[in-house]
Amino acid sequence: MRAVWMLSLFLLGPGSAFADNEKVDLEIKVVSLSTKEGKFEPELKALLAKLPLSFKSGETVDGHTKPGVAKGESVRFQVKGTKEWVTVSVEDIGAAGIDFKVQLGEKTAAMSVRATKRGATAIAGPIAKPAPDTELFVVITPR
């Protein structure tokens, strides 16, 4: 797929505001960003160019989509090929957006983020480094 789906995140239609206690589809994927080759689309390339490490290609290695996630629910899975776990918990859903908490690994990192619209995406990591030139990142998108 070569990060084609990542570009689609940019090209998807406009998102919508959330109603109170509305349910959302939580899409969580794990992508492998590599410094090899050069297969990124220009928009994502521009974003990644701001990183200290110069990534040149991306590939989805794991994906979990849970439909109808309500406030207080969470999605937890072990990243394929690693010992690391990812937990995404929906803290609140309201007019301001959806607040969720992301836990990378058991004690690696934790963060609180707010998506103001459907389709907004958070990319966090790296959660693992399977190769010297490859790092795994978690991509979270409420739909």
């Binding site: 995140l9 940019f10 998807l12 406009p14 998102g15 928009e43 521009a46 974003l47 990644l48 701001k50 990183l51 200290p52 957006g97 607040d99 990378l104 690696t108 990192a109 934790a110 963060m111 609180s112 983020v113 707010r114 998506a115 103001t116 619209k117 459907r118 389709g119 907004a120 995406t121 958070a122 990319i123 966090a124 990591g125 790296p126």
Partner: protein, 219 residues
């Protein structure tokens, strides 16, 4: 010098004849036999003696042959190489002829195959050129009106046509652009706001259009 000095005198002529007659009368064969015999004896004696210079000449010849030996082998190799080259060239010649023949057949086949295309293109280009070289729009309109309004001049017909077009433009209802052509302002895709990060290391938050990147590094 007088003429008498150039011409032999009578006396000398007489002496010459007498000497010749005396020589003819005399028998020299015993003398010649003695001389020949003496020569044979001397030659046999010289042949019987050992040839002193032979050894030195033989050694010199052998030395010269030894010094030229490598040159002889190089020369021999060169000659053999040249012979081989000629033989190879002769052997290759039929191959080259065959290859040239094959290529020629391929080209001819390809030309035969592509010939209809050439003809088609040529015909198409020719028709296009004919269309281009046809009468212009003005000429066609003038011809139409000149035949339609007999007795009128072509310019008057063209003016009437232009006036008709203007009238149609003014009288026609305004055509609205189709709905899908109307520009809709691009709606905000929203954002992903990072409120808090708990990580023992360096955190870099990069916000793009609808995407936020949280990069964690140890240092």
């Amino acid at each position: 010098m007088s003429e008498g000095a150039d011409k032999p005198s009578w006396l000398s002529e007489c002496l010459k004849e007498e000497i010749e007659e005396a020589l003819e009368a005399r028998d020299f064969s015993p003398f010649a036999g003695e001389v020949l015999k003496k020569i044979e004896v001397e030659v046999e004696a010289s042949l019987s003696e050992p040839f002193v210079a032979a050894a030195s000449l033989r050694a010199e010849v052998e030395q010269e042959l030894e010094s030229r030996s490598p040159h002889w082998s190089a020369f021999t190799k060169g000659v053999l190489r040249e012979i081989d080259r000629e033989e190879r060239a002769e052997a290759r010649q039929p191959l080259v002829d065959r290859a040239v023949g094959e290529l020629r057949r391929d080209v001819e086949t390809e030309l035969e195959r592509a010939e209809p295309q050439f003809e088609h293109r040529f015909q198409r280009d020719l028709s296009r050129q004919l269309r281009k070289s046809g009468p212009s729009l003005y000429e066609r309109i003038s011809a139409f009106f000149s035949t339609y309004f007999e007795g009128w001049r072509a310019g008057a017909g063209f003016a009437a046509a232009v006036a008709a077009v203007f009238l149609l433009i003014i009288a026609a209802p305004r055509i609205e652009p189709p709905p899908d052509r109307v520009m809709v302002p691009r709606e905000d895709r929203g954002s992903m706001v990072v409120k808090e990060v708990s990580f023992e290391g360096r955190v870099m938050v990069i916000e793009g259009e609808g995407v936020t990147f949280v990069y964690l590094s140890d240092s």
